[in-house]
Amino acid sequence: MAETETANGSSLRNAFGNVLAVFILILIGVLAFSIRLFSVIKYESVIHEFDPYFNYRVTQFLTKNGIYDFWNWFDDRTWYPLGRVIGGTVYPGLTLTAGTMWWLLHSVNIPLSVETVCVFTAPVFSAFASWATYLLTKEVKGPGAGLTAALLLGMVPSYISRSVAGSYDNEAVAIFALIYTFYLYIKTLNTGSLFYATLNAIAYFYMVCSWGGYTFIINLIPMHVLLCIVTGRYSHRLYIAYAPLVVLGTLLAALVPVVGFNAVLTSEHFASFLVFIILHVVALVYYIKGILSPQMFKVAVTLVVTGGLAVCFAVAAVLVALVASSPTMGWSGRSLSLLDPTYASKYIPIIASVSEHQPPTWPSYFMDINVLAFLVPAGIIACFSPLSDASSFVVLYIVMSVYFSGVMVRLMLVLAPAACIMSGIALSEAFDIFTRSIKFQLPSLTETSPDEAGESSSGNAEIQNNVTKTDKNEDAQKERPLKKGKKKEKEASAKVSLKSRIEKRLLVLPFEASLIALFLTVLLGGFYVVHCVWAAAEAYSAPSIVLTSHTHDGLHVFDDFREAYAWLSHNTEVDDKVASWWDYGYQTTAMANRTVIVDNNTWNNTHIATVGTAMSSPEKAAWEIYNSLDVKYVLVVFGGLVGYPSDDINKFLWMVRIGGGEFPHIKEPDYLRDGQYRIDSQATPTMLNSLMYKLSYYRFVETDGKAYDRVRRTEIGKKHFKLTHFEEAFTSHHWMVRIYKLKAPKNRLRGKIKKSKSKTSSKRSSTAKRNPWQ
């Protein structure tokens, strides 16, 4: 349905012009927004998952305390006792965006809560992103492809997974920023306008503010520039598109506290500077070539090349020495694991322990981009006929993003826009050809009587020509009033449409074949739409903080996390410290407003290792570690009763590994029986005595008498035990969250247990004497 609409849009462009395109774009925006509301309708308007809670908390702080306090915010609620400088360690783009939206709404007296604004930021920005895709694809292949690509992007599952309502994460705005930056780059490349070049630098600045993925831009664009230079496509437009971006962009990027001098110091940015130099050299060569005669030029080249090479080598040697002096070659861990996919699993368990840093499987490609995966090759081919600066850029973009998505699941998100652009181009070209073929042959079918069809092949061709001519005629007439003032915008599309017009005269498919192909393409699009809606409704809308299950007696809701966080926030002291595995750090600070030891910003490996060690140690040792950290409550997530698989027992090996990385007395083999991780009667004693085991299974046996763990599908190894240093403070309804309190240190009254008993009784009587009425 929708595809035909856009196809119509491109063919009716001549008739209704921009109005229809704008209307379609608005509809696409509405679609992109509303397809992401499944989570609100099926669940509720709530922030999802882990990181979004942190962003939400930062936004709350920003709206309450203002921008200056935000930059200077030292957060003492986390990483106790170290704390964290929030202003200097977050990408502020998302927070500032939502904060601005909130402020704008409030200034016109629309009192939406910060939470509501945060929840709906991602859907709003995905509408923006689909518009940006339209602009970008329009620059590459004309408005028809633009509309198709925008529609595809509006509902691509990969992007939906990161931008459903409530998924308040950096990616939500960063994808828009990414596409928009690329659009402005292409725009500058097509027009050579300094105005767009400046806008491009600002868009790049916004991207740097929003997401660490900005390094993708600052590497991709130089690569494209290099590609253009190598293939002899150097022009003044290329210079204007690139040089201001590097200069202004780097200056602006350095303004973002979290990037700062990294913008010139780390290896991620070196490619751009190198290409910047190359570009200038090339520009100089072209200039000299212009003012010198060919012979003179040759002489000059030989002179400069010999001199220049020497200097270049010297500079390169210095650079290499500088870079090599740092242990990671100046690359950050995450970037290195991109270049070398095995790097993280070898050296940084904390990066490897995050599931979204794993390489994706084939089915996940089908799940996340669906039919686009098959359309992309067609789009690439379409980009090569003819190859322009812009289309070579999108080809480069898709190639790079396919590689990155192959390294990390998470970067599938970068692939999605590229895939949408390519598929949009492919689909729109296909539609163009099919509909054109049908249109050419439709009048001929009606005009020539069927018995003379064979004879009239030459006449046929002429009529086709006729049609094209009149078409052209109309086209020209319609374009005239629009041209005024908007020439530049039109130029690219006009060029493209003209080129394609020439091809169209050549590419005429048989009527029946094109009809069937058209039908099949629509069917393909329909399949994609069905898949996207399904993915949005079923696969990606669960907020993960609330779980549901369908049983025979209806929907059952597991709201244990919020139950526990609410309990913590209302029934413990404001300054109490809560220890848990880092996954729950953000949620605890945001929902329970309690100080945590570690959280999802895994900046201090040692601290995390300390918590991991405590969780893997026996009770007494763990108590000592926690007591030294002022911890009052320990929170564990336990899924054994209801079968919630991502609980702490399943994450326990990572705690052991990360703990063991810093504290060698924790050894992974001690927790494994013959290399197998188990918690049943075969489990090792170290495992059965670890704090995590005990806190998870404390009094578990009394629930069913057998202590059958529904996640591990086995009876647990050690069933009856008592806690000596901890006491149960709270357990949620389905036992998914268990909170323990550290017992106060015992008095040093050894051997006087009996006496103390009598003492307590006397104490009681003394309290009894207290008059309750006073």
């Binding site: 009192p111 001519k469 374009e479 149960e728 357990t731 009894a768």
Partner: protein, 616 residues
Amino acid sequence: MGLGTKMKVDLCIIFVSIALLSSPVFSDLIISKVDRRIDLTSHIVRITSTIKVENEGNEPVSDFVVAFPDKQSKHLAFLSANHNEGKGKKKSHGASLPVKSVQSEGMPKSLTSYSISLLKKLVKGESLTLEVLAVFAHFLKPFPEEVSQGDFQLVVFQDSAYYLSPYAVRVQTVIVKLPDARVESYTKLENSKAQGSEIKYGPYENQSPFSYSPIVVHFEYNKPYAVAQKLVREIEISHWGNVQITEHYNLVHGGAVLKGEFSRLDHQMTSHTKGASAFSRLLAKLPPRAHSVYFRDEIGNISTSNLRSDLKKTELEIEPRYPLLGGWKTFFTFGYGLPLKDYLFEAEEKRFVDISFGSPIDELVVDELVVKVVLPEGSSDLSVSVPFSVEQLEETKLSHLDISGRPVVVLRKTNAVPEHNQHFQVYYKFNCLSLLREPLMLISGFFFLFVACIAYSHADFSISKSSASYLAKLQWDEVLSIIQQLENIINRCLTIHEKLEASLSELSRTGNVQACKAARKAADSLLKELSKELKPLLTTLQSSPQAAQIFPKVEELVAKERELQERLITKHSIVVDCYEKKVSGREIENRVAPHQQKITALKHEVDDLLEYMDEI
């Protein structure tokens, strides 16, 4: 129970001293009979005293004084008195009598007294029956103050067996009603007996003023001891037909504090038998036509609630996120909408809202109750009528698209109990036309936006109108438009060419020479017209300096087109001639062939030139 006796002694001393201090000011009245029912089935203690008063003095008396010891009076939340007419079972409650706090002379310091104004003065020898209801909050004290999860919660109630009054009392009885028969202990006096869940003291006869005999009842109390430390009720009136009520609760379990572990296992397994003081659900009785009910807290929706509604009432069973054990706190919000016409009335020139004051939750003590009535923007002349004393403020609230803000009446009441659930009225003036303000504002906003868009697209924002580059741009635009026209004309010529060709193919099929000639004639005239149109365009283009670069190309295009035209016409005439002379097909082809070649070549050239033009 050393405690009980010790206390008794204390209190006795106090009240003996009170009795000594008492002065004869109140002695004109005498209480001939008092029946007190002390209802302890809820943690909100209700003492209903049915008092028969006689005037034995000479002076007519208009006030009747009731007194409470300070320890009771600080818990006193609500006091009302009714004039009780009729006799026996057929009691008819008269209007409630005004009650005010007085500081009478001659009263002992540790007593707080309230004066009830009688409807008419009581003259000598007359008697009347009063029914005084005193409601106390936080009056049941948990004892022991801390219990572990499995223990029962015990509470202590303390009062006097004799009716504490500045007047002499002839006959009196006290009945203490308990939730069930499980009593830990109670003060045994003469004439006291426990019967099931009731303890009866009395009858006692002829007690002097201020006589006091402390009693203590220590019993098991397992009903929800729910206390809202703060409740903010916001009632927002919308004249579009809705009253939106939002209530924010800070709830605490006011009973014995939990000591030691909380075990979910024990709670799930044995909560009905042991540790029953924990409560996990509360019942809110909402007005009958309540709709869009929600229940949430600051971190999202709370999914555990039930709503039952019928014609008479709506019952919302709310369950906080976690069960409340002793001393645990929680926070939640719930809200609902009500139809406006049930609550908004008009009286004379004013409108008034008539809505209930307190919390809809059963048996809830509210330590601090704040009721905010948000009136529509543009309301004026606010006045409030509340049946009891409250603190009153006014503020404004800025909500959706407000400019001046909505007036808010804030009423604050401490120690509110369900008896405060009475209707109160807020009177205000409001002009219905103000309703249209916000829609009109939106409409005009959008209108001006579109107007601005139109204006923008028609305006020229170049800074200098006389600069060389601007002029050049204008000229260039002109050139472009001319070229456009030129292209159009040439395209039209080309279509005419097509038509000519088409007529030729038609001729080859049908042999109709006449039709072909007609087509030729039409084409000729059209072409002539077009070439006429072409001429002025070419001259203007020639004169324009901007077009200097393009002009040769244009000229070339025109020339080529002309040549093409000529060739076509010759071809056409040759073919037509041949048909007239009935020359064979092959012959025709031979004759046409050179022309045909030239034509195709020219066509290509013209196409290329057109493309070039397009690209400008």
